[in-house]
């Protein structure tokens, strides 16, 4: 069984989503062999050397516990946690994947992505993306002291939130033509991505071939969602908080 999640945007400002995720990792996820996190696990990640932060440390420890219990965890960068690096991978036991990533199972093939690279209609966003995904820019940022990075991250979030206020939907969608090209390049396999916060299952007909595109749901304080591949079909599963002592 394989599980897919994305867009949890974990931060100390969202304790409910954090609790859901910890519960998910300790419970539901343990029944699967593999977990794919398709971007924006964190609301912000300013470098692997920020492990002294207690919130980050708790997430890392929970991922490590699941890895140690036999769950294979794979992570694709999102537009918030693009600085997740080898230090994070080593600490959690997760592997970092390139975007897009082809996933072949004995039964079916998938192409996995965060999804933001196809939002070509949003020129401002694409310019931002080109900057933050530039290795030289990232290296220069990581060379700055943690305190300074924190200030920069806060500023970037303010700019992002300000630009989102002017839009009907703060998350732009994938460009249709680029998506068709993408599906063509990836041999019409089932496409799974996040980023848009518009969970839905889309049917594309590309070159006369039917291709499914599954958009993962973002997580909220009271509710998360994972997509489940059980070897035969994909289905969505809601995650709510369990009552416990």
């Amino acid at each position: 069984m394989i599980l897919f999640i994305s867009d949890l945007h974990l931060s100390p400002r969202s304790p409910g989503a954090m609790r859901l995720f910890l519960q998910f990792l300790a419970g539901r996820a343990r029944e699967a062999e593999e977990l794919y996190i398709l971007g924006d696990l964190f609301e912000a990640w300013i470098g692997d050397d920020d492990s002294g932060d207690p919130f980050n440390a708790e997430v890392v420890a929970a991922l490590r516990a699941s890895s140690d219990a036999g769950l294979r965890i794979s992570v694709i960068h999102g537009n918030r946690d693009f600085l997740l690096g080898d230090g994070f991978a080593a600490a959690t036991g997760a592997r970092l994947l390139g975007d897009p990533h082809l996933l072949s199972t004995p039964e079916w093939q998938f192409v996995l992505s965060h999804g933001d690279a196809l939002c070509l209609d949003d020129a401002t966003y694409m310019a931002f993306r080109a900057q933050v995904r530039n290795p030289a820019w990232q290296a220069a940022l990581l060379a700055k002291p943690l305190g300074e990075r924190r200030v920069i991250a806060a500023h970037m979030r303010e700019v992002s939130e300000a630009s989102q206020r002017d839009k009907d939907n703060p998350y732009s969608d994938l460009q249709a033509a680029a998506t068709d090209d993408f599906l063509r390049e990836h041999c019409y396999v089932t496409f799974i991505h996040g980023h848009t916060h518009q969970p839905a299952t889309h049917d594309h007909i590309v070159d006369g071939i039917h291709v499914e595109r599954w958009v993962l749901a973002d997580w909220h304080e009271e509710r998360g969602e994972c997509l489940v591949w059980d070897g035969e079909a994909l289905h969505r599963e809601a995650l709510t908080q369990e009552n416990r002592p």
């Binding site: 009552n243 416990r244 002592p245």
Partner: protein
Amino acid sequence: MIKLTTNHGVIMLDLNAEKAPKTVANFLAYVEAGHYDNTVFHRVIKNFMIQGGGFEPNMKQKPCKAPIENEAANGLRNKRGSIAMARTGDPHSATAQFFINTVDNDFLDFKSPSGQGWGYCVFGEVSEGMDVVDKIRAVRTGNKGFHQDVPADDVIIEKAEVV
């Protein structure tokens, strides 16, 4: 007194409205609404507790009312035979699900009004039928769906009533 008639026998509960007024009022409201009739003890861990009140047989979750304030700071302890409210990670999130401690669980007691320290609110104790609780705690359990520690054969609360 509350009488829980289960398929393993009768459990009598003495509620402490003086120490846990809101929690007791909440529990009584669920009893009087018939909420607990035909629910199961769905989480049974022998040397910990038996938890129920939220699911019908076949693990169908029942709708609940609004969550209540956590009154765990009332001095009542999670000792063997006490009944307390289950909740999510949010301290003030108890609704209908409750549990009966099968051993002394000091670590569930209130420590401080913050995060992990809140503990779980005890609001009464088993006055008769601890032998029934002991029968239930010993049933065989396994995984059902993604729930763990679920009795293999349903442990059913057939009726909950005020007597």
